[in-house]
Subunit: 234 residues, 2 copies
DNA sequence: CCTTACGCTCTTGCATGGCACAGGACGATA
DNA sequence: TATCGTCCTGTGCCATGCAAGAGCGTAAGG
């Protein structure tokens, strides 16, 4: 095998393929709707079609690709309606996480959240959008981790993958004033968590997610849910 | 090699394997923790190991089996903690479904829910637990369908599969008085939905799920590693 | 010129066989 | 007898080959 490059031989190859393909799709390296050929991927990763095939099958159950039998595998393109649906789920789960965290009392995640908000304040003051986007993601991740519920976390991860959220959060924050508003809302949520007011924390967190969704959809250029970007018709 | 059975050659083989294995695990035909051999399953279904392998991998991402590399594949046995976590998710999703349905106004699912409750009242009056269990499942399914959110439904289905809920609901209803109480709670939820009071509908629905969980855990014999209790197919 | 049907190619689906590794049984040695 | 090393078996993992369905270009017929 001529393929003794950076491909880590540790662990199974398909795990590597799954992780890498997932990363690419979420990060947006591959255009939504683009076809994925088993053979091409197999050559690229230096393996046979079998592990690639199994990796794609797993990504399908995660909702990242769509396998049309005997036709091909394609990166899924969430329609506008699906995005709305995913945000409803996001609202649910993050709201619940806030409530659960409030009920748990003072846990290490609380300290990390406070630290996160301090840094976020600075980033907003500097108008450093990129850094703030990172901190937003960390804030939400800490919230989920603090809920201490593995099933909640698992469903959340799958959700975020389908949303390709890391791509979208930048769009959301590009709305003028959104970063400052978002930062304020985070403060309120953490405040309510510290007061152990799970009820209000959940409520405010939900509104926060809704606001985030509105900012995102306002920033999305075109509805284009099923834009079959044409094949340059002859 | 008892081949030549009613194996449908029409659909893809692995789809058949997935569906059948999922059915067995959920229904409880296979003991939790039991090892699944690729080779044995391949022979039983009359196919090669490849589709079986891919089927098991999909079931793994659904949380129904656990693949330990180089060791074997086993049916997952949800711990008591995981059951609690799953019920938290169930509470979330069904509560949200009640809220969403209330917001939608009068849709066909509402009529079906009313019909369902009429039949459920009769079943409770007759003390027909088996029929009531079916109606409970239908009630919750209608609620989810009425929410008109495909992502919500997808996550709900995965949840129910992991819970093997169809097995558990009977345990829950075996608690004395639980059926009557459950039926009453269903009525209240539907009432609130009809009044378009999504807020209260969600709240009551959550309490209903919590009550159901308490009834279930009270009926569970022990938190032992894996109880293989005989099928109560009467 | 338009319609229809053929056939080619590309894709995935499945079968088969070899390989590497984990776990346990067995036996040799102190 | 206890302990350690070795072999054996079972399992998942991967490579390769063949078969079949889907899409599309092209050519024949009206």
């Amino acid at each position: 095998m001529n393929r003794a490059k950076s491909e880590p031989k540790n662990g199974s190859m398909q795990a590597t393929v799954i992780a890498e393909m997932r990363r690419r799709i979420i990060k947006g390296d591959i255009d939504p709707g683009a076809p994925l050929s088993e053979f091409a991927l197999a050559e690229e990763f230096g393996v046979s079609r079998t592990p690639v095939r199994e990796a794609l099958k797993q990504l399908q159950t995660e909702g990242l690709v769509e396998i049309r039998p005997r036709v091909g595998t394609f990166v899924t393109t969430p329609s506008r309606r699906e995005i709305t649906e995913l945000f409803v789920m996001k609202e649910l789960i993050e709201g619940a996480a806030a409530r659960l965290l409030a009920q748990r009392g003072r846990v290490p995640e609380i300290d990390k959240l406070e630290q996160n908000l301090r840094e976020a304040d600075e980033a907003v003051a500097r108008d450093d959008r990129e850094r703030y986007a990172e901190l937003v993601q960390e804030f939400h991740d800490l919230l989920i981790a603090g809920a201490d519920n593995s099933k909640l976390e698992a469903h959340y991860r799958m959700l975020m993958n389908q949303l390709a959220y890391s791509r979208l959060v930048n769009t959301s924050l590009s709305q003028p004033g959104r970063a400052l508003q978002s930062d304020r809302e985070h403060h309120i949520v953490l405040e309510l968590i510290l007061e152990k007011d799970g009820d209000s924390a959940e409520h405010v967190m939900r509104e926060h997610v809704r606001a985030s969704r509105r900012a995102l959809l306002a920033g999305l250029p075109i509805s284009g849910p099923n834009e079959k970007f044409g094949k340059t018709s002859s």
